[in-house]
Symmetry: C2
Subunit: 602 residues, 2 copies
């Protein structure tokens, strides 16, 4: 970390800030101003010969404006308030010899600190980790925590990118959470936003040319990653990635919307970031990863350097979500209009991108390139996530929309497909609470703009009374998980199903690997069944049979009962089903929306 | 070509236009309106059951506005006038079995039709082709010819991208010029602009979403290559590339400023274009090429598909020009401030990009990636071109700025470096006329804007009287070549030097190949000499010794006179030198700014 406040070997506090746009910068400390020294390239620095751990400070720009440190480690009083000095070495880590987890083992669980628990804090989340571990999760994905305006926000409006949110508990609590993850054997993934900054409390432009008007993002000005003075801007974000992986010991970063990172330079920011993370992996001796959210359907995001790719370690693959959800619910609105056949789902399972260069009606252009050559561990897939629930489905979860049987069917394919599966908080027990978009801006104009934007976006689907006002605290509260459901049926049944699925995934080599090339899918678009076989003649083999229909189906597949043994069936009473007739033998007969998993005999 | 007017097999004239923004489109012909049929995706078409070759027409949009055809093959009355039907098969080609030229043989000559000859037409240029052939040129590069406003323009303000300019002679004359090139054994390169359209007469936006506001170019709105409805826009430009290579039989296209082609889609327009050009090569059985102008210093432009590149066949390499010119003239202004050492020139010769990831003071950021792995034929280099003369040097040519001796020194290294050399018209005989920027817009506001922009750009260097008004016809006329100089010394001497250099390049295998890996450069920054050795122990070898100083120099290189034989020396009387002392033997002693070329004995 080149900038911010840090303590040097002589226990002095060194302040460094890049502020080429300022005529002067002073450190405001204890009501006093201390002029900072300016060096080359707009860097200002000052060494205070004391350990200022815990002290609050501002930078005073041009003798006029008090601003928080762009690289503040803590904003105890919010985005507009002073920054606080944090000694990175003060925390005593108790995760000792945490070896990390290889990416292939990732079974991820996306959670939002504010709504995951009643308390909405890092500390409160810790209590749930044993539960996640018992469920079979191996990696906890935390939605963005960088200081955002107010106490309620998804996190994508963060502006103080090095500061864990004060309302969540701040730096020390977050470290305790990561430590607890490791102690529970869980990798910790942090969601970070490198494509824009939030609209309130963003003072970066007063310091330097962090933004550019050469490109536009839907969320605000694009970051200046390839224009004049872009080196320090890139460094700010590269350092940020390394900061979370070192000072907070995260195992992976989920990079929000990399399609909003506009970099036409000869070395893409993501490629540079992947290189630096790999070097950090070597240095720390535990595996560290970047996982991109990408709306590009461009294999180059995760392709290796030899193929000209950015070599990001994995990316989310929306086409799996879209083809699965439309297979369950029928063709949808918006981008869901591009999906709707079992053929799409089959392609998502065996190739990856469904849109690999073909024409997208929704996008009104050809879209994507092929990901068929890529191993499955380059892709993280889901059937629900914060965006899909809140945006595509207007806050409603898959189970609410599709019902219990279809939810179980989705679970089976999610966990057994040759990718890294991810759950969204509460999905494992069929939470019925909505997940809405919520903010808590303090700028009244901004609040109204967000509210109106949201209202307009959903005008066609949501009537006035149903509209969840993003600024209302009730919207936030309604989105919290209700853990009491865990003890109720059919919630507990779904939880048992997920638990057993993850167990089978770990136990069976044909399920725990991500080898797409050893995955074959057959389906019948009219009869609405789909069969996925995984594994090779030589090794372990598994078979998933799924009925995407409200009628019973008979899958014309007959091995004379010699080969396949039933390992899991969504119709079991244990999983809230009727328990009969059991589809023990081929040809497999399944009830409405049922799925069964078979393994090769002995 | 999917759009425009064409004749079908039944000798009917078919009009097709993509106009999704129009509520209706009618064909205006002979004072009559004929409503066109609309099909899917905003395509309108009409078949007139007659051969309309030579007829003029407009499209009438929304019953209100008469507009030329975006894919007009001819605009006999300028950018605002009607389009003319041209039968592509009417021209009888007389270049019979022209086999094309492999890229490695390209010795290019950039010319501007309006100033290359007194007449300023395609026809007049034909008369000069035997001269170019005798000089040793193998490829004629023609600055853009697409219809632009008025009669005088560099061509980068073209708006009717399929129509050879009316003032230059129109379609048939251009075909005669290409035919004559081929008959003279010359490849023909056309400069095309796929990053913006000119500011006057650009009606494309009335037809469809050709432009986007997501990106900005310095020259106007960026083209919509990756947004909604971008497929037909891409097709328009892909077709344009194929059009010039088929209907006009060009051998290569020089793609103007590809850094202004913003395409974040999963398949870059340039990659798609290269694929289609390669398919056309196969179809026609002669080699066709794309040569990009790129200000990215990004090897991926020309890298092959396996490395994730766009596989464009070659690109201009400005770093060669900049390092050469500053080696001759000292550090310059603007981007020339980034260059100035012999080390830069040495790196340009052996590696390619001088800025391969290092910090550029001018750009205020790190710039470029390495091109060291690329073969030399991926790069076209020059010591002068239209842009460098007119912009970097405010109209003045290298010989005028640097003098005769330095001009000869530049010539030797330009022709013997392991790249594809290119001359700018008149360079071969040391033309002293300036080359200015000129336009002939008809919109008075635009004229004033261009004039003021230009004046501002050069305010620091050019006083009022020296300022060459871009709109003035005198500026254009002053930029014309003066062929009378050919018979005068020292012009004729320089011409003889170039002729001999090209001859040696053809004759010596070590010079005609572009093998950078067999090229070694040594230099002394203080003594200001540079030695370039080319070839391998096993094959042919050459040695260039150059003195970048106004003092005589002695190159500490001694083979005892056994190995090297003098093949060319800029100090010969034949080349306008004093003729002595001849640097026959090693250690080589050269006069001020002299260069000598040696070949391995026997």
């Amino acid at each position: 970390m080149r900038f911010g406040a840090h303590l040097n070997a002589r226990n002095q506090t060194v302040f460094r800030v890049w502020a080429p746009r300022a005529r002067s910068v002073a450190l405001r400390l204890d009501g006093q101003s201390h002029e900072m020294d300016s060096a080359e390239h707009g860097v200002y620095s000052l060494t205070v010969p004391r350990n200022l751990d815990g002290a609050d400070y501002f930078y005073l720009l041009d003798g006029e404006r008090e601003r928080p440190d762009p690289a503040s480690r803590f904003q105890p009083h919010g985005v507009h308030g002073p920054s606080r000095v944090v000694d990175p070495d003060a925390f005593e880590w108790g995760d000792g010899d945490w070896p990390g987890r290889p990416l292939e083992e990732y079974v991820a669980y996306e959670l939002h600190i504010g709504t995951f628990t009643r308390e909405g804090t890092f500390e409160a989340a810790i209590a749930r980790l044993p539960y996640l571990r018992a469920l079979g999760v191996t990696a906890v994905g935390i939605m963005p925590v960088a200081e955002f305006p107010g106490a309620r926000n998804w996190g994508y409006d963060g502006v103080s990118l090095y500061a864990p949110h004060s309302a969540y508990g701040g730096p020390e609590s977050l470290k305790r959470l990561v430590e607890a993850c490791h102690q529970a054997g869980l990798a910790a993934i942090l969601d970070v936003v490198y494509n824009h900054l939030g609209p309130e409390g963003n003072y970066l432009n007063e310091f330097g040319p962090y933004f550019t008007d050469r490109y536009r993002t839907p969320w605000g000005p694009a970051l200046n990653f390839d224009g004049e003075h872009s080196d320090p801007v890139r460094r700010f974000f590269l350092d940020n990635a390394l900061y979370w992986l070192t000072e907070y010991r995260f195992d992976a970063l989920r990079l929000d919307a990399v399609h909003g990172i506009f970099d036409f330079s000869a070395r893409h920011l993501l490629a540079e970031m992947a290189d630096e993370v790999n070097a950090e992996t070597t240095r720390q001796g535990r595996p560290l990863y970047l996982i991109a959210e990408s709306d590009l359907n461009d294999a180059r995001v995760v392709d290796g350097r030899a193929r000209g790719g950015h070599a990001v370690h994995a990316q989310w693959m929306d086409d799996f979500h879209h083809s699965m959800n439309t297979a369950l619910l029928g063709r949808g609105d918006g981008y869901l209009e591009d999906f709707g056949s079992l053929g799409d789902l089959a392609k998502a399972i065996t190739s990856g991108f469904v849109y690999d260069g073909c024409y997208s009606k929704h996008r009104k252009r050809r879209f994507g390139n092929s990901s068929a050559h890529l191993p499955g561990e380059r892709f993280m897939v889901c059937t629900q996530n914060h965006d899909q629930v809140a945006n595509a489905c207007r806050g409603q979860r898959l189970g609410v929309l599709a019902g219990f049987e279809r939810e179980k069917l989705a679970a089976v394919l999610l966990v057994t497909a040759p990718y890294l599966p991810m759950l969204f908080q509460g999905q494992e027990y069929g939470e019925t609470a909505p997940f809405h978009y919520f903010v808590s801006h303090t700028d009244a104009h901004l609040v109204e703009a967000v509210r109106e934007g949201r209202r307009r976006e959903f005008a066609a689907f949501v009537t006035g009374e149903q509209f969840a006002d993003p600024q209302a605290e009730s919207t936030f509260k309604a989105s919290k998980l209700d853990w009491a459901k865990l003890d109720q049926e059919p919630h507990a049944a779904l939880l048992r199903l997920y638990q057993r699925l993850f167990e089978l995934r770990r136990q069976r080599e044909s399920l725990s690997n991500c080898r797409k090339e050893l995955t074959r899918v057959e389906f019948d678009e009219a009869q609405r069944w789909l069969v996925m076989e995984r594994g090779s003649e030589a090794g372990d083999r598994s078979l998933v049979v799924a009925n995407f229909s409200s009628e019973p189906c008979r899958v014309p597949y007959d091995d004379g009962g010699r080969y396949w043994e039933l390992a899991l069936w969504t119709g079991e009473t244990l999983y809230g089903g009727m328990g009969e007739p059991r589809p023990e033998e081929a040809p497999f007969e399944l009830g409405a929306w049922e799925a069964a998993l078979y393994v090769a005999r002995g």
